[in-house]
């Protein structure tokens, strides 16, 4: 955390041709396939099975998996680019949860015989039909916990003590209806739920930490997309809405708060991409960066969604306004892993560790 500010590094954030191609493909797909009415139609569950299948056809469900398991070996940078586009249309698909969980499971699916790898391979068999998910906070003895996307997944990755386990059920538990219309559900080891250890000890803890870091980054990217699009709605509104003979967007009292959202979005996007790029290219060398990106994106989204709704006045407060969809998900997505302020403290922990190890 807080690397030497005088370090000589390239700072080229422009996307390369392949990165741009992925962004354009998914931007086009999500924009065409997922207008606001499809988001509304998916409520309250927040899962559109057909959209997930369509996205899977484009590679969304497998692109981050190794080629040996039918994936494209995409790195985190490409994955956060996709997550931002999904977030921008509020796509009712659990891309972040599935991607983070399936990549971790894939690590333990190869090679050896035994119940763990077999279960891991099974979980990855029909991802286009049933996404995986994870518990982004460690659980204690698998007492009941809220799992994001838990109402649509049959396999949930969790850390139980020092064991990395896959919980499996033929049918997911029922939806816990929530502010963000995401498929939250309570998972526990109970009748009809199997618990299979896929790794233990250091491997389990490391694998789980990586999965959580990736989930945070992907969620952060989705929040960047969400805030970007919410801002776009408010900007469009403020260009056409007039007061006292001028468009409200020409007034500093409206323009400057919107500018502050842009300042946040543009920085959060680069911070997420930086964390992803460094995780791809210098894994393990930048502790705290995924937490920093996540905490900042969550702050930017909370502030941005409020501002974007507010700049549309009373209309932005109505459920008919698309701004409301964005507002409700800004918190609905930010808190799925617990209080985002814990990520702030984790950044401080990493900073102190760096100073002590100097």
């Amino acid at each position: 955390m807080t690397p030497d500010i005088f370090e000589l590094r390239h700072t080229d954030f422009s996307l390369a041709e392949d990165e741009l191609a992925v962004r354009e493909a998914f931007r086009e797909f999500f924009t065409e396939q997922c207008p606001a009415n499809r988001v509304r139609a998916s409520e309250p569950l927040g899962f559109d099975a057909r959209l997930w299948r369509q996205a899977a056809e484009l590679g969304a469900a497998t692109m981050g998996l190794p080629e040996s398991l039918g994936g494209d070996d995409a790195g985190l940078l490409l994955l956060v680019i996709v997550a931002e586009e999904a977030g921008a249309v509020l796509a009712p698909v659990p891309f972040a949860e599935h991607t983070a969980a399936s990549r971790a499971v894939a690590q333990f699916a190869a090679g050896a015989a035994g119940a763990g790898p077999a279960r891991a391979r099974d979980a990855l068999l029909s991802v286009a039909e049933r996404p995986l998910t994870l518990m982004p906070q460690p659980v204690t003895a698998l007492m009941s916990a809220l799992a994001p996307a838990g109402a649509v997944a049959r396999d949930v990755l969790a850390l139980d003590g020092d064991e990395l386990v896959l919980l499996h059920a033929q049918e997911p538990p029922p939806l816990m209806q929530n502010q963000g219309s995401t498929p939250l559900a309570q998972w526990a080891v109970r009748e009809g739920v199997s618990r299979t250890v896929i790794a233990s000890g250091g491997d389990a803890v490391t694998g789980y930490a990586t999965a959580c870091a990736e989930w945070r980054l992907l969620t952060a990217a989705a929040l960047v997309g969400l805030t970007r699009a919410a801002l776009g709605l408010a900007v469009d509104f403020s260009k056409s809405r007039e007061t006292m003979g001028v468009p409200i967007g020409s007034l500093q009292g409206v323009a400057f708060p919107l500018v502050d959202v842009e300042i946040g979005v543009s920085g959060a996007r680069n911070l997420v991409r930086k964390a992803a790029w460094l995780a791809d290219n210098e894994p393990g060398e930048h502790p705290g960066l995924s937490e920093a990106a996540f905490a900042y994106a969550a702050q930017v989204a909370t502030h941005g969604a409020t501002t974007a709704a507010h700049m549309q006045g009373g209309l932005g407060f109505t459920v008919e306004a698309d701004a409301s969809l964005y507002f409700l998900r800004a918190k609905g997505w930010s808190v799925l892993g617990g209080d985002p302020a814990r990520a702030v403290r984790a950044v401080g922990d990493a900073l102190i560790a760096r100073v002590l190890n100097k």
Binding site: T2, I5, R9, V235, V246, G249, V259, G267, A295, G348
Partner: protein
Amino acid sequence: MELSAVTLDSEQQAFAARVRGFLTEHVTPEVLEHERVTGDGFNEQVHLALGERGWIMPTWPAERGGAGLDPVRARILELEMRRARTPDVTLGTTRAVAAAVRRYADPSVREDLLRGAAVGTVRFCLGYTEPDGGSDIAAAKVRAVRDGDEWVINGSKIFTTGAHNSQHTFLITRTDPELPKHKGLTMFLVPLNAPGVEIQAIRTFGGERTNVVYYGGVRVSDACRLGGVNEGWSVLRGPLNAEHGIHDDDGGHALTMGLGWLSAVELARALDVAAEWAVTPGPDGARPADDPYVRYRLGQVAIDLEAAVVTPGLMGRVKGSEALISGAAALTDLLGPAGVLSEGTPPAPGGGQVDFAHRFAQGTATYGGTVEVYRTMIAQHVLGLPRPAYPGAKVLVQRKR
């Protein structure tokens, strides 16, 4: 995307070592103490020594007084100079004006000016802001009136930082009050030793010295004019864009450092000091960092610092300044009374860096164009919001007396 660390070859490493050696030799504790006391933003011996090596205009070819540095070496030089806290405010304004001099100065004086700027004997400052003006540079009222082959200049400019270090000021004047606001302006390079020029010091609570400069019937030759009469706005745009971090070539921006980055450097220094404070055991053996609350506070500052460093373009300029302002305030609070101990007071953590950062931070939101000016630019150029209709946007509005 490309964020990899730049690996230096042996020649580049040797260059970096030469730069560091030079800075150790020249940017001495005495130089730093002088800067702390005076806030000059300049040290003549250091400046001339830089000029001797071609490092005032490092990318200019050697035959023009530069060092012909490639972008990597130029960046090494910038980073090391910043790391060593080289007083460089007047260096920065000299560089900003040099491009306009090259393009617009009268051929009879141009080469001497540029050669002098490169070796360090000629320094330029920016004569933009007026006492009753502010960030609206195009509202300049300082008058220049033609008198044969000369011009007579009357009026005053404020915040002419480095005027007392400089030989010339890059002065924006009103030559035709009847024309639309941006059309009646003319630029001059005014010698600061001309009769009628009076420079008075202004101190800021950020520790800097700046100036108010009075022009009382100052006569300058027409050869001091830069660009056409009433075409001053286009002459000024080059240095102004450079000050705003806007560059003609896209490739260059990755290696340039704007105000946002400068702000981030000060925040990083303050954060380093606070982190050291946090791991230092108190009399009871406990470290402040043992308290999760302290780590939380440090974490938030670190996040804003990381965000400031990567926030692009115009947005980065605002974020850098505001991250420094909020971060320095938070770190001051965190340190309690130790956070407001002055520089040079021995128990001040890190030599008073946090106290300095909190005071220094405030100016970064104003000079080079306020963050509100930048917000206006972001609103119009990035978000595409409609321009407000202000009565003085296109014409000079003179207050009736």
